[in-house]
Symmetry: C3
Subunit: 221 residues, 3 copies
């Protein structure tokens, strides 16, 4: 649940997702759209919401990322599968290049470096490792074509939202409907919280199964 | 070693443990009371000290936590074994419900979500993973009965202390004596520090074995 | 790339490495001098740059560290191989002792505790785990002799630099030349950034292989 509820695009980071958190959008989606855990924000407070531009590279080589920065449409987020290998594929130079081209952030199954500089530049990055280990520049990789990012398919134009809880990918055709459901969900959660503050329990408010205390007392396990 | 030394209950967080850190209490306990590493604070500065209320659940299902929030005695800390499985068992709604019931925090071998909201609400949570991945609500689990939390037995009323160094569990019958020993330990550590600042070494102050420099020079390893 | 460029020793932390980041020095070195990932700063902003004093210990025993603090030359950084085992080898007491002796920091393949106190004391520590788990004091270990730290050889007097990106070890005989190359590298990176801000791409500025768009469209993978 996000503290902001508006679904209008205001030009602020995260506006593209109606201000909703990854967790709220995941719940509203009802899809297996959450990447496996382990993609962590490179600096405290980093957050991404924008249209995905997928990049598939070879572990240990970052030529694909150089080309992706040059080719990706402005306003997009690079979503890169570097085979999870721990190399420093991305740092200050590529960040300046990406900002210059109007890109919004990077989600990468692989490593990054220059963390302090990324924070200073305010460029949000989510990565599976942090390391200075060097990379080659030989493999062109594949740009703009569907990839699987830690278990979730990502195509150009899908909505990708990343925050401290994790990374979710909303299919382009369903993103608008998901955001509307997230808006309604947020209203419902506010009502639940009002009910909790009035002294009711989540068991009551969600109509969860009552506890069978006899089972609790008797069962072996 | 904690910077606070008083063992009086002042109503402040951590007061129940005399203000002592997990590390100092572990040393004073002389017991295998430290949970295996990997339970991390969900936000910077989170700290828990209070009486445990154990919850055993099935990986991927959070019904037991909903019932635990409704049943646990006020002033207690939920200590939950969700089999270490990485699902988002706990978030903003359960936090509001727990605060409403006067619960002090959550330690969970499993995943949590809504990290930013937990920090904003000031509810301390220690978890083994962070993820939005969804949960079922079918298994009642077991409430208030002993569990093993990452290698350490936890019963209702045991004193659980969690900080950035880790999580320790003090058996109810021994907690008061351990806190008294921690008080004395803290005094002793202050004397050691005074000795260090006067130019002595830890080898001298603790009476550690002297270094056999001949061995050092000759041994193959 | 570091935001500071001067290579003069100013007596500030990090001065010994000309103010350069671990990442920049790694690039300038052209050596396999980066430790495998997983040595993390114990508190936000911790940074180390200084001459290494190697310590080899037995997993679960910290006697070697007590002797190392007593024997290491002032102005050095302890670089300790505790076999990667997760025990709390180092805490507040050893930190006060180390500061008293003029030591600059600790890099350890093993665990540490008293994280909050280390931050308060401003003593930089990089470790592979955080835990209160206790240690014996029986094994003298080996002091001042070469070790391998997560894949990289470290000898007394090597320059060790640790920051949020990782830990690098520069051989003593080559450190000065590496720092000079890092200075030049920094100048070159400033030119690259100027070029990027003028609208050029990293592909152009680094002369990277152009993208073969035909291959991109046709290749199966």
């Amino acid at each position: 649940m996000s503290s902001q509820g508006e679904s209008v695009d205001s030009g602020q980071p995260g506006a593209g997702a109606g201000g909703h958190s990854a967790a709220t959008l995941y719940e509203a989606a009802g899809l297996e759209c959450a990447c496996r855990p382990g993609l962590r924000p490179s600096w405290a407070g980093a957050r991404i919401a924008g249209l995905a531009y997928p990049v598939a590279g070879i572990g240990g080589d970052n030529l694909a990322l150089h080309h992706a920065v040059a080719h990706a449409p402005a306003g997009h987020v690079l979503v890169a599968d570097l085979q999870g290998a721990a190399h420093g594929y991305w740092g200050e130079i590529l960040t300046v290049a990406a900002q210059q081209r109007g890109l919004l952030g990077l989600v990468i199954d692989g490593g990054v470096r220059d963390i302090a500089e990324l924070a200073a530049l305010g460029f949000p990055v989510f990565a599976s490792s942090v390391t200075v280990l060097g990379t080659g520049k030989e493999h062109q990789g594949r740009l703009g074509q569907p990839i699987a990012l830690r278990g979730v398919r990502v195509s150009t134009g899908d909505l990708i939202v990343a925050d401290v809880d994790g990374v979710v990918v909303l299919p382009a055709a369903e993103a608008a409907a998901i955001i509307r459901r997230a808006d309604r969900r947020l209203q419902h959660e506010k009502q639940i919280i009002t009910g909790l503050r009035a002294g009711r329990t989540t068991v009551q408010l969600y109509g969860l199964p009552d506890r069978d205390t006899q089972v609790d007392a008797e069962q072996a396990w």
